[in-house]
Amino acid sequence: MEGKKKRLLVLYASQTGNAMDVAERVGREAERGGCPSVEVQSMDHFDPNTLPSESTVIFVVSTTGQGDPPDTMKVFWRFLLKRNLGSSWLEGLHYAVFGLGDSGYQKYNFAAKKLDKRLQDLGAKPIIEKGLGDDQHPSGYEGALDPWLMSLWKTLNHVNSTILPEMSEILHPSMNKLEHPKFKIMYHASSEVVQHDTHISDLKDMKNMIERARSMSPSLHGHDHGEPHYLLKMVTNKQLSKGDDGRDVRQFVLEPLASVVEYQVGDVLEVLPGQNPAFVDAFIKRCKLDPDSYITIEPWSGERDAMDSYVNGSSDHPIQLRTFVSRAMDVASASPRRYFFEVMSYYASAEHEKEKLQFFASPEGRDDLYQYNQKEHRTVLEVLEDFPSVELPFEWLVQLVPPLKKRLFSISSSPLAHPNQVHLTVSVVSTMTPLKRRRYGLCSSWLASLDPNKNEEVLVPSWIHRGTLPPPPPMLPLILIGPGTGCAPFRAYIEERAMQNLVESTAPILFFFGCRNRDSDFLYQDFWLAHSSDDGILSEEKGGGFYVAFSREQERKVYVQHKIREQSARVWGLLNAGAAIYLAGSSTKMPADVTEALEEVVAKESGVSREAAARWLKTLEKAGRFNIETWS
């Protein structure tokens, strides 16, 4: 192993933070086992060219619902797929792969499975077989992680006992030695702080303050996007759904205060939600913090290494503690992770609380923790209130409280039709936990609470990003499939094409929509009907069409895929004329069901076999003419 780095490297690709959490646990256990050199890195911060110089790498990768790797893995993965790497490029590399996925999906853990095979094909040797975490398991991915991790350490130790000299600490953790936090908090006297850091006099100051607060958060790992592009005001907040089956779908119209908002159809709006001030105050009070103090966050040792390089320049601009909590720490929505409970156990003064927390953090207590924490969507505030004797230092809170995440929404308006406005079509997320507690989505319920007539000062910090769906040129025929809130980007496409149609010739659009019944959730009913009559761009006269599946208006369920099969000739006619297919929505199974229906249509209308039709659709996907965008 000459020239190879003698360290244990843990590389992760995380979409929602779970894979990152697993990777950090792997790194932590290795350290406890006395491993001399451990490094945990996100894949998008790692140069794949240097992979051959590593000796031992543990990969932790998530797979999204549609079978794709996380965004942070795309570049790394593309590099690994290069034909010219050769079958001995990774000779001498020992590796193991752990995947996080959901067996409810056809493409279960595809990213991990493909990675494992490719690494072998490139000459690397697996230490143990790949581990596959499954959300469907009663205790989630930890059900597979615990035994896999134990097997990994035992095998590594067997092969080379110098890697984990303190193996006993892993096998029988003594639970009385806690490592130090990764960061330290510096408190600054208010006299030190420059005036503009304390006082927000205009929008520019507010944007700057948000950026400073979030860039100081180590959990946001330099993946944040700087200052908000816009601070938008809510001008319309209208409920689109009716009826009492609990569904609350809103139309939000947002406008910039003092600038012009620029975007194109297909773009997404990224929003930083506000937190209920009562919760922020309750958290600060519970943790005995001083909201008015000014803080900066530094790496623990004061040395800069690869992991800490994202905490930069923070000592120049201290931020008010309350602002940091409010803008960067999720205190009343996201659930903490297992490690939070482990650290809490060290700081519990009541014996029964200490015992319970140690139990929750142990492999034996894993299922119970899953029930108490993940299944109940426990918030940090709730957990702290359930364990009142725990006094966690702020350093640990900064490291362990889930970061306040921004949310993405498809924009449902065309700037041609609504200049300087951004429309969103949002379903207010609401779930009932097993213990019958109702939980609301943080961002959707916050937006729904903004009253255009009242909240003059409540602004929505927003970013505009290019969406995954590219805007279609006017002469491209379109087949759009968007049940429920999946119709959001298509309202934008249709508005845009209707405007374009006034001045130039445009190609027809077939639009398939689905909802439960026309009286409760037929979103934008008047809009679609207006465009499908009078020679509108959705009208059959123009070569287009608008078809709705009402799932609950009859005995058997009718969905968009049934409507697609009914209109098989029309669909094929447009596909033959070069149409592109766009599919959007929030349902987990809908994309697979629709793809199946499309395969049937292609096979039936052209006379080829199902397999040939499926391959053709796959090629269509690669060519960018079959686009799927789903969200949970």
Partner: protein, 256 residues
Amino acid sequence: MALVLTDEVSLPLRVIRDLKSEGLNEEEAVVITQCGSLGGKLSFGDAFFGTVFVLLSKIDNLTDQWVSEISRVLKPGAQVLLQTLLLPDNQAKPSSQIERKLLISGFVDVQSTDGSQSVLVKGKKASWSTGSSFPLKKTAKVLPKIQLSDESDLIDEDSLLSEEDLKKPELPLVGDCEVGSTRKACKNCTCGRAEAEQKVEKLQLTAEQISNPQSACGNCGLGDAFRCGGCPYKGLPPFKLGEKVSFGGDFLAADI
């Protein structure tokens, strides 16, 4: 019923009579002159005419919009005849220009005759209405070609998956049937779990239990982390024994 359409201001009757040889029955014909002023729209319903004759002085007046209007008012399978005068400075082959326009709009059996003074182009409207299916010639079992950007320097990642990987995954088996864990009792439960679950659900809180909560085990007030499976207070925030229980749920819900 036939339609005679012209962009000219006037049409000599002689021309109408000449069209008889092409099948025009003058007793049932509608003549429209100066059609350029109509803005590309005819006030007749769909599939109204058995034949349409178009007499053009300028080929450019035959816009795509006119061609589709003509198609619209024609019965399926019916014929359109276009005649245009050849002017001395005409570009070569005006007939192919007209043919192309007809083909793009879905006309079939398009043929043209080039005379010394004029060209005549005929076409038939397709005898199926838009949207109905029809069998393609059996030999043409070929799908339209798709242009792919060149990515030949990467391997096909789907080839990395095995047969096993592509099969529908099995959901994990859950061995235990303990009450309170995630799996619910089956509809035809025989192990008694369904009865046990019934018992748990029936534990509604009485007014007494809310205003003066007591706990035999001592854990009910400590919060969900400490409560046992059968605890009536499950789901509620922690409380002090003897003090009225608050339903913190509202506090934690968003202010909608």
